[in-house]
């Protein structure tokens, strides 16, 4: 695994740089993952992005903490942000500067690095020469190719050309800057007496190029773009959306498809709120149209009332939830508070571990939704998945058509056969109506694994299902989790297994309906269960834990709840390793907040104890921290 961290400022193409590098690696046949340090950055603010490259699929989704290469797009950051965090002895630095590294006054940070591992390249100047704009990212990637030999210059250029396919002048300018920087760094290395690394002739990460007439292909794209492609192939007839981060890229991509006529017949309705988004979906679905929308966070809460209505009316709407925290304090980053708050609204809830699974789950969701007449939320971690670029297999249109038959609703609003939908039901039948809603969810419990199996047979990929175990067979400790953190947990488990610990993880894909039997079967042989969850039931602790404990009723084992990743706090392998080691010794508290800054909390508690009017806790603590977004991991 090769890990790169980019530091730049908003407007310098820092996020694009990581994406282009991942695309270049993809062209080389490798697996790559690129994602930004998610934030509310504006032009000029410090920005980070990350790229991991490997011959095998990449599972971990923590930020790059110990980079192999640091790319600094703006030298003014060197003394402002701790860009050197985690830079160990074999880390190499590529800095955008017209001055030699020795003149940058960074010796105190780079003293521990090997000689010759800090290089500068005048990327902004090269960009001005070739592109006419001070965007140094492409030049730095050319330099990166020369420095590491990890990707060939031609692949970097090809990635640039693909990215800017609609703007040939921009593509040519960036490609020129990349070539010039490549030559510059090659000369620099020669000057230092370092033989420039030669790229291996061909990586082969098992890449399969499958392109067909109907759009089936393997691509390196953002998770949101992948989900939009998957949704489009499901042939939705009405899409309605209200913008909320981090869901926006999905509906933007779909609106382009509809407006350009690629996706037809389909109506795209720009509504005035999430409440209206779900309401439009209700009307469209009741009128017999396959309907789609997407939301997150506050938006999901704002549509709470129509959510219950959609499930109560049995309308098979599919919605992406790009999971994000709920305020106050307002927080745009990922956790599961939003979807978990709606766990009892009658929708099926499926949680995606990867972007490929997020795509696949949408296709399966329509099948499940329309067969049991229930709406489905496909939950994918906001930013961590929605904004991550990685290799995705896009299914072909005819492939999806063969798997997903056209929507044939049980009852629709039709002038030729008038029905009344949504009548009032009194106490004489309301319990029975609710019982039947539950029965339909139980029916889905049977159906979800069937559809997943059929999907695997049809598309050649395992996605979905109820639960998925990893190294749980002889495990004494089993971690339970949902969503994208499963990848990072799996890598941690491999490490701990290498050290002899008997540990595994159970991923829950279907949280509603909750697979009590499958969870019980997977967990009842172990000695302890650690439920790691990205939401908090304030006043009691875990939400997933409650459900897991219900599955384990009567089973004698140790149960621990770990609240992790709230509001975008990175869940790192380092933290997980320590956590599982403590858990394995049964020294964990029943309820733990992973990486809680106890000093920070302690100070605020002391303030509250000393003065009842200590002010808003969040602001107090941020004042203590001093720097906003100061953490990498």
């Amino acid at each position: 695994m090769f890990e790169v961290r980019f530091h730049g400022r908003g407007g310098q193409g820092t996020v694009t740089a990581a994406e282009l590098l991942s695309a270049a690696a993809f062209i080389e046949g490798m697996h790559a993952q690129a994602f930004p340090s998610f934030g509310s950055e504006r032009t000029g603010a410090p920005v980070m992005s990350f790229c991991r490259i490997d011959d095998a699929p990449i599972r971990s989704r923590e930020p790059v903490i110990r980079p192999d290469v640091l790319v600094i797009q703006d030298p003014t950051l060197l003394h402002q942000v701790n860009v050197f965090e985690g830079a160990e002895a074999d880390c190499r630095l590529l800095i955008n500067s017209g001055r030699p590294a020795a003149d940058l006054n960074i010796g105190e940070f780079t003293g521990g690095l090997r000689p010759g591992s800090v290089l500068t390249v005048p990327a902004t100047e090269l960009a001005m020469q070739h592109l006419g704009r001070p965007v140094p990212s492409a030049a730095l990637l050319g330099g990166f190719a020369a420095l590491t030999g990890l990707v060939r210059l031609e692949s970097v250029v090809a990635a640039i050309e693909a990215r800017f396919a609609s703007r040939p002048d921009v593509a040519a300018g960036n490609a020129g800057a990349a070539r010039a920087a490549f030559d510059y760094v090659t000369d620099e290395l020669a000057g230092l007496g370092i033989t420039p690394p030669v790229p291996s002739a061909h990586h082969d990460g098992g890449r399969v190029i499958r392109a067909s007439q109907d759009g089936a292909r393997v691509v390196q794209i953002e998770g949101s773009a992948g989900v939009a492609e998957a949704v489009a192939r499901c042939r939705p007839e009405v899409i309605c959306a209200y913008p909320i981060s981090p869901q926006t890229h999905i509906v933007e991509a779909l609106s382009r498809q509809v407006k350009s006529g690629q996706l037809t017949p389909c109506e795209f309705v720009n509504v005035e709120s999430e409440f209206a988004a779900m309401s439009v979906a209700i009307g469209a679905s009741a009128a017999g149209a396959r309907s789609y929308t997407a939301t997150a966070s506050q938006g999901l809460l704002y549509m709470t009332e129509p959510l219950y209505n959609a499930s109560g009316l049995g309308l098979p709407i599919v919605m992406t939830v790009a999971n994000r925290a709920i305020g106050a304090p307002i927080n745009i980053w990922n956790d599961h508070s939003d979807a978990m708050s709606q766990r009892d609204c009658g929708w099926i809830q499926l949680y995606a571990e990867t972007n490929q699974e997020a795509m696949d789950l949408h296709i399966q969701a329509y099948r499940v939704a329309e067969e049991v007449s229930l709406p489905v939320m496909v939950c994918m971690d906001g930013f961590i998945l929605t904004h991550a670029h990685e290799r995705l297999e896009l299914p072909g249109a005819s492939q999806v058509d063969a798997f997903l038959p056209p929507f044939e609703p049980r009852q629709i609003l039709d002038p030729s056969d008038p029905v009344s939908i949504g009548a009032m039901v009194g106490p004489e039948a309301f319990t029975e109506v609710r019982f039947l809603a539950h029965a339909r969810q139980l029916q889905a419990l049977e159906l979800i694994p069937q559809v997943a199996a059929e999907f695997a047979a049809h598309f050649g990929r395992d996605s979905g299902g109820l639960v998925r175990g990893y190294r749980t067979e002889d495990a004494e400790t089993i971690v339970v989790a949902l969503g994208s953190v499963l990848g990072t947990i799996k890598d941690t488990i491999d490490e701990l297994r290498d050290g002899g610990m008997k540990i595994g993880v159970l991923g829950i894909t279907s949280f509603r309906p909750f697979p009590l039997d499958a969870v019980r079967a997977a967990l009842s042989g172990c000695q302890r269960v650690v439920v790691l969850e990205k939401a908090l039931a304030v006043g009691i602790g875990g939400i997933v834990s409650e459900n897991v404990r219900m599955a384990l009723s009567g089973v004698d084992l140790h149960g621990y709840t770990v609240i992790a990743g709230l509001g975008g706090r990175a869940i790192t392998r380092d933290s997980l390793r320590r956590l599982f080691q403590v858990a394995a010794k049964d020294e964990l508290e029943p309820l733990t907040f992973l990486d809680l800054d106890t000093v920070l909390v302690g100070r605020e508690l002391a303030r509250v104890a000393a003065n009842r009017q200590s002010g808003p806790a969040a602001e107090n603590m941020l004042r203590d921290l001093g720097v906003v977004a100061s953490r990498i991991g």
């Binding site: 389909c266 009307g283 129509p306 039709d414 008038p418 009548a423």
Partner: protein
């Protein structure tokens, strides 16, 4: 044997039925083949203005669309009295979702019809004043602004009657409701609040906005038919007296609606693309007291100096409407 003289002078008037006219001039409601969109047997109160207005409006819409109509209903009296499970009065495709989302659900239905290539199927959204001017207003404005192909009909009985008569944004000044009780130094609803939904609808410059009352049922039928001649967002605001909430006699529903028009308190007009194109003249102008005194919700205005002052202010509101919409001038001109 008692003889009922035929009043020939009703021909061509606003009276209902007109069975003496040629078939093509008769009202929709007088047609034996009318849709009966809302069939009898529902559970509305005696003298319910909303039930009457909805029946006329939807039958007219059914005729105008050749039976290709889907109705979306907000929560409220109309929904509750028409569909106690497992019964329904609706003989047209009908959906009730929530209190505040009928315009958006209607948008969804209209979008589905477009996607399915069914431009012949038209959509009516409907609700009471609470569902329209208060809780559903964001969705209504969104539907207007996007110019979605929906006719939205508000049956305005000037308060939340379904929940037991509480004030809404359409409750007029001085009216007593259970949340603007007739107590204290200024009993009833306060002056200077409330919103005029038809004028706000016009500000969206949608193709068609009109008001009507259940006293002018031929006029209501006409306005529904006219509305259906347009594509895009259309708004019809119908005054429907509520005997329960207004404290009026069940037999006075039509009379009170007519007095609302004749006093000028409820101007009846139509507007196209944001401009008023016609208003219904006041045939016999009456002072507001004639309207107010039939309703217990205004009983506190009579017999006190304060009440007299309030009546003067209400009369001023009526006078302003008359001037603003040319309710007397139009008569002079016609």
């Amino acid at each position: 044997m008692a003889v009922q003289p035929i009043k020939f002078y009703q021909t061509g008037s606003f009276a209902v039925g007109n069975r003496l006219l040629d078939p093509d001039q008769r009202s929709v409601q007088s047609d034996a083949d009318r849709a009966n969109s809302i069939s009898s047997g529902h559970r509305a109160c005696q003298g319910c203005g909303e039930a009457l207005g909805a029946r006329y409006a939807l039958d007219a819409a059914m005729r105008a669309t050749n039976g290709q109509l889907i109705a979306v209903n907000a929560t409220g009296c109309l929904e509750v009295f028409s569909t106690p499970f497992p019964e329904t009065s609706w003989r047209i495709p009908w959906i009730h979702s929530l209190f505040g989302n009928a315009p958006a659900v209607a948008t969804g239905v209209a979008a589905a019809m477009r996607a399915k290539g069914r431009p012949d199927v038209r959509v009516v959204g409907q609700g009471g004043d609470g569902g329209t001017v208060d809780i559903g207003f964001a969705c209504l404005s969104g539907m207007f602004e996007r110019n979605d192909d929906v006719l939205y009909i508000c049956y305005d009985n000037e308060a939340y009657m379904n929940t037991g008569v509480q004030r809404s944004g359409a409750t007029p000044p001085a009216a007593r409701t259970n949340t603007t009780p007739a107590v204290g130094p200024e009993p009833g609803n306060v002056f200077g609040q409330g919103k005029n939904a038809p004028l706000i609808a016009m500000a969206h410059e949608i193709p068609y906005v009109a008001t009507a009352t259940v006293a002018g049922l031929r006029d209501l039928e006409y306005k529904v038919r006219r509305a259906m001649e347009f594509r895009g967002a259309r708004y019809l605001h119908v005054l429907v007296p509520c005997p329960l909430g207004w404290g009026s006699a069940s037999c006075d529903t039509i009379k009170i609606a007519r007095l609302a028009e004749q006093t000028g308190l409820f101007p009846v007009f139509e507007a196209e693309h944001g401009e008023v194109v016609s208003s219904t003249p006041i045939r016999k102008r009456v002072p507001v007291q004639e309207y107010l005194k039939l309703q217990a919700r205004y009983a506190h205005l009579f017999g006190t100096p304060y009440g007299a002052e309030v009546i003067t202010r209400l009369q001023a509101r009526a006078d302003r409407n008359i001037a603003r919409f040319g309710l007397l001038e139009t008569e002079a001109a016609s």
